[in-house]
């Protein structure tokens, strides 16, 4: 990279040699070069900063030692422990509990993603195309879940559910309680904002003339949306959905405070393992999750490329 910059610099020097002094030229070239090297170092540094901890986690998930102090040789035993209930001082890992919490995470993730993707897309279209009183207020309010601390969100939602369940129980005479629906609603609340923001960015890039042209050519608004707007929006919607799914899988605070009986998700399970310090099984499990989610993202990237 530095090489090609130097070449570019010399070409410039040849052309303008008659009018500019060599001293200034040399200085410009130096600044150019150092600037480029600086940017290169920065981007590589940033990349390392982002990825090194994850790479270390993956490496140490194969380490034949309970602690991360030293490398004691390659082993797959932590991965085996995940899939076999291991007991005793060696490790304590309940496979059944892990698989059940994984299932719970998927239930919550898929449901919350589906709902928030539909709602978030609708909200962003309404904000971009509609005109009605209070639009700006809604526009601003949309960002609230992004700036409110998660703990506030979790606790306030739990309070809201407790109060409304109390009232509801009084009305229908049956006990209503926390469960998957409360967790899913909690996730939809923060996911809508993320989906709406991603979809809106896509909407802003789109040419509104295309829709107008469709209407001119006789398509009703419904048809114009599905034949013209939606296909163009799709990459944005998919990115939004993926983001929502990841956030949903990741969430601990909102999930825990709005959980019911039998809704332990994978994140809550991993936190629950902390009674006996961080075990290498957690590294192994995180690595597997990382591989899974990277496959998901890879697939979606390929799908998006095909669609274009």
């Amino acid at each position: 990279m530095a090489d090609s910059m130097a070449k570019g610099g010399s070409g410039y020097a040849d052309r303008s040699a008659p009018s500019v002094s060599t001293g200034r030229l040399r200085r410009d070239r130096a600044i150019n070069l150092s600037g480029n090297i600086g940017m290169w170092v920065l981007s590589i540094g940033g990349f390392i900063f982002l990825w090194l901890p994850i790479v270390l986690l993956i490496i140490f998930s194969f380490n034949d030692s309970r602690t991360v102090n030293e490398w004691r040789g390659f082993t797959l035993k932590w991965y085996e422990n995940i899939f076999n209930d291991v007991i005793g001082a060696e490790a304590r890992f309940s496979t059944a509990l892990m698989l059940e919490s994984l299932r719970n995470s998927l239930i919550v993730g898929v449901a919350a993603t589906a709902i928030s993707t539909v709602l978030g897309t609708m909200v962003s279209i309404s904000l971009a195309r509609g005109s009605y009183p209070g639009k700006r207020l809604i526009d601003g309010g949309l960002f609230m879940p992004l700036v409110i601390p998660e703990i506030t969100q979790g606790v306030s939602l739990a309070m809201f559910f407790t109060l409304s369940f109390g009232a509801l129980s009084g009305l229908i005479g049956e006990r209503v309680n926390f469960g998957f629906p409360t967790i899913i609603i909690g996730h939809v609340v923060f996911n809508i904002s993320y989906v709406a923001i991603v979809v809106r960015a896509r909407l802003a890039d789109m040419n509104p003339r295309l829709e107008e042209a469709a209407s001119d050519l006789g398509a009703n608004p419904w048809r114009a949306f599905w034949r013209v707007t939606f296909p163009q929006l799709l990459p944005g919607i998919i990115s939004g959905a993926l983001l929502a799914f990841t956030l949903s899988l990741d969430d601990y605070v909102v999930t825990f405070f709005n959980s019911g009986v039998g809704t332990t998700t994978l994140t809550v399970f991993v936190y629950g393992l902390l009674k006996t310090s961080v075990s290498p099984e957690i590294n192994a499990l995180s690595t597997l999750l990382l591989v899974l989610s990277t496959i998901l993202i890879g697939v979606s990237l390929i799908l998006q490329r095909r669609n274009r």
Binding site: S65, R66, T67, V68, N69, L76, Y79, E80, I82, F83, N84, D85, V86, I87, G88, A89, E90, R92, F93, S94, L97, V155, A158, M159, T162, F165, N177, F178, G179, F256, F257, S259, G260, V261, G262, T263, T264, V268, F269, Y271, G272, L273, L274, K275, T276, S277, L288, V291, T294, I295, G298, V299, L301, I302, R305
Partner: protein
């Protein structure tokens, strides 16, 4: 780019397949290697009639129960158990404070129990429904958090003591003074109550003192005896010890036992100070608003069965409060002889860090001041 994606997927699938295959290959071996052969026929407890088809909801740490405990109970009683997890006492209480979503049993540590009682999160147990309460060592009854044994069924206990490297520390420590006066690098536990209690104990005060003067003296004592301090460890004292950065550290028994079990060596020792060990104990409690208290108490009785209880203690490697389990020979000899199962009769001054309410602020302030003065 598309090619890259494909390569990526292939590589990922290969990794997954390898991991999956290796996991399956060894599934048979592990069970035969295990010397904790599980035999439900040894369970003396029988399930009372009439629970078939009912459900029980348990709230606990993820790794704080035996791997067969729940499934055997389900079989014996014909019931379904839901097991949900929390990661610390405070989170569990915060969750229940917002309305119990339907849990029958939780496993709180002693210090949080007075808070739970005060906030009406617990309901009294009916001792007549739990005849196996007789198996509990009387030492663990009538404790500060439940003087009349109304709310709690003792489960597993533990200690905080001194972990040390036997190669560097030739003479085994037996007092808090040994760590304060040791000529070499040491670490303290990053918990205000623990370290100030040690200092109070050495100074001859009540380790649960709420007297500002005494706490201030304890603070000054810590500052004056910090010359050999190299680290204040939050939860990694055992790692500092293993890396050789310190020769001695204040630690929880569970963490240091993991290190001892992992290295299979004689390098690490764990002792309790003669002034008195710092104890902790988890208890089973009946939660207010739980839908099935009857089955919950049947479960508590089942957990107190000597065989069931011994198995749990063996697996989670915490000492049990159940005397019958130990006397019945259901706890592994190796575990019983390890330093995490101390003979508390030899350490008469042992104590809990009791609930002291607002006086907690006193400790937090004194601790912060001490750390600033020490410069850590």
């Amino acid at each position: 780019m598309r090619k890259l994606g494909r390569i990526f997927i292939v590589v990922s699938l290969v990794v997954l397949a390898v991991v999956g295959a290796s996991a399956q290959d060894d599934s048979g071996d592990d069970e035969s290697e295990s010397d904790l052969a599980y035999d439900p026929a040894k369970i003396a407890w029988t399930c009372p009639e009439g629970f078939e088809g009912q459900t029980l909801n348990i709230f606990n740490w993820a790794t704080y129960i035996g791997s067969n405990t729940i499934s055997t109970f389900e079989e014996l009683c014909g019931v379904t158990v839901t097991y949900d997890v929390y990661d610390n006492n405070e989170a569990m209480v915060a969750r229940l404070r917002n309305g119990n979503p339907g849990y029958d049993i939780a496993f709180p540590t002693e210090y949080i129990i007075p808070v739970m009682i005060r906030e009406d999160l617990l309901v009294p147990i009916d001792a007549e429904k739990i005849p196996n309460l007789a198996n509990i060592d009387p030492r663990w009854r009538g404790m500060f958090f439940d003087p009349d044994d109304e709310y709690t069924v003792p489960y597993m206990w533990g200690t905080t003591g001194i972990a040390y490297n036997t190669e560097k520390v030739t003479e085994a420590p037996d007092s808090w003074m040994d760590i304060f006066e040791y000529d070499g690098p040491v670490a303290w536990l990053g918990d205000p109550r623990t370290m100030l209690a040690a200092a109070l104990d050495v100074l001859g005060f009540d380790p649960n003192s709420t007297d500002p003067d005494e706490v201030a003296q304890a603070r000054d004592f810590l500052v004056a005896n910090s010359a050999n301090l190299v680290a204040v460890a939050l939860d990694d004292g055992q790692a500092l010890l293993e890396r050789g950065e310190v020769d001695m550290t204040v630690e929880y028994d569970g963490d240091i036992y993991q290190l001892i079990a992992d290295c299979e060596c004689e390098t690490y020792g764990y002792v309790l100070p003669q002034e008195g060990a710092i104890l902790n104990i988890a208890s089973m409690v009946l939660l207010n608003g739980g839908p099935n208290p009857e089955l919950a108490m049947a479960f508590m009785d089942y957990v107190l069965d000597p065989y069931v209880n011994g198995q749990i203690s063996n697996e989670i490697t915490y000492p049990t409060a159940n005397k019958a389990a130990i006397e019945g020979g259901f706890v592994d000899e190796a575990l019983l002889n390890s330093p995490i199962y101390p003979n508390l009769d030899e350490i008469p001054g042992s104590y809990f860090l009791e609930y002291i309410g607002d006086a907690d602020v006193l400790y937090n302030d004194a601790w912060d001041e001490a750390l600033i003065l020490i410069g850590k």
